[in-house]
Amino acid sequence: MTGFLETMFSPGSADMILTIGTIVVKIAILIGIVLLHVAYAPYFERKVIGHMQVRMGPMRVGPHGLLQPIADGLKLFFKEDIIPAQADKSIFYISPVICLFTAMSTLAVIPIFGGFVIANINIGILFVLAMSSLGAYGIVMSGWSSNSKYAFLGGLRSSAQVISYEIAMGLSLVGVIIMSGSLNLTDIVAAQEAYPLKSFIIPQIIGFFVFCVAAMAETNRTPFDLPEAESELVAGYFTEYSGMRFALFFLAEYIGMLLMCAIAAICFLGGWNGPFEVPYIPFFWLLVKVYAFMFIYYWVRATVPRYRYDQLMSLGWKLMIPLALFNVVLTGTIKMLR
């Protein structure tokens, strides 16, 4: 503590304040961009699914429904906040904040382009996986504290699903780490430049497949949206949440989806490297890849029906984990022989 105080009042304290100020400004810019994206991701989703079902999607609010996200946000902001009488109040209050906290903090290690990453730590992937594990706490706590049968079942299902697919996801990334020799996400992108298409997509195709399936299960998206299967569980673990608390869960879910898309683009598709350089927009190709992946999320939602819970579990444990392990052994063997 004295060391900290000495630093605070040493001549270098101006440097420290400047450094912290720069970091805060960077974080504010990143959060601003991400929130803008998250506001329009559901709009994009509704438009895509609408057109796939020969509908128009949102059209009423603003030209082509472009102001719909603002209307939705305002509505949620002014909604009454209902907390069930028998709920465990403090846990009920805190769990949406935990979900949002884990999803948002992960953004710190995601590189947007060559030099722009908020925390350039050497354990990037490990941090991402650790944070997504912590996200399960928010889900379990909300399901437990609501004191509702639907929420309880949703929370149970969700936590079992998330931890099952986390193993497959962790294993699918081991192949990428063997090939790049680093856990740092910027280094992984740099390592991909030597490979065809400037990406690991061809040598790591099995890993990419496992990662895609696991990413959909991790973010509770269709066809693995059993925790919030509306035809049987109403809304799953956030059945009892309303107004802004519900909005925080929603925000966390869409930030989680965005993160999964970004990690897929960075680890398997070559990040911000593209067929040619786009002047002035260094993050152009990353954005294109993220949006393409996002589109696939929506496409799958419009195409595939929901899995049954036993099918979901046996797919995870009996197919995805052996496949990912096989990929690890295969990548290691090929790397050893060369």
Binding site: S10, I82, A85, S148, L156, G243, M313, W317
Partner: protein
Amino acid sequence: MRIITGMPGQYIPSDYLPILIFMMIATAFGLGTLVVCSIFRPRRTYAEKLTPYESGNPPIGEPRMRFSVKFYIIAMLFVVFDVEVVFLYPWAVVFDKIGLFAYVEMMLFIFILLVGYIYAWKKDAFTWD
């Protein structure tokens, strides 16, 4: 937060300082939204509104009921297999540097794990009925 004060007047922040700040901002954002929102939103509650949602019927029985033992088995399997993934990570990072010895060692490790995996499969730990 690691502060290196090697030279007087020089300040070098740790790589993890931005993460700490990011976590603080994320928490403040979540809590701040709820606090600001609590000023504006209406508060018109009555007893029926505060009952747990059960399609309009009065709730019957204890909501936190007993649940399938399968969830416990999944949780235990997760602990075993996740530790294995954690062991694979450092091996994968230094794969280039340590060569054949580590490769053989790790294949042995995966083989032993596979035996356990097949045992769990044969014991029907992965089937859900």
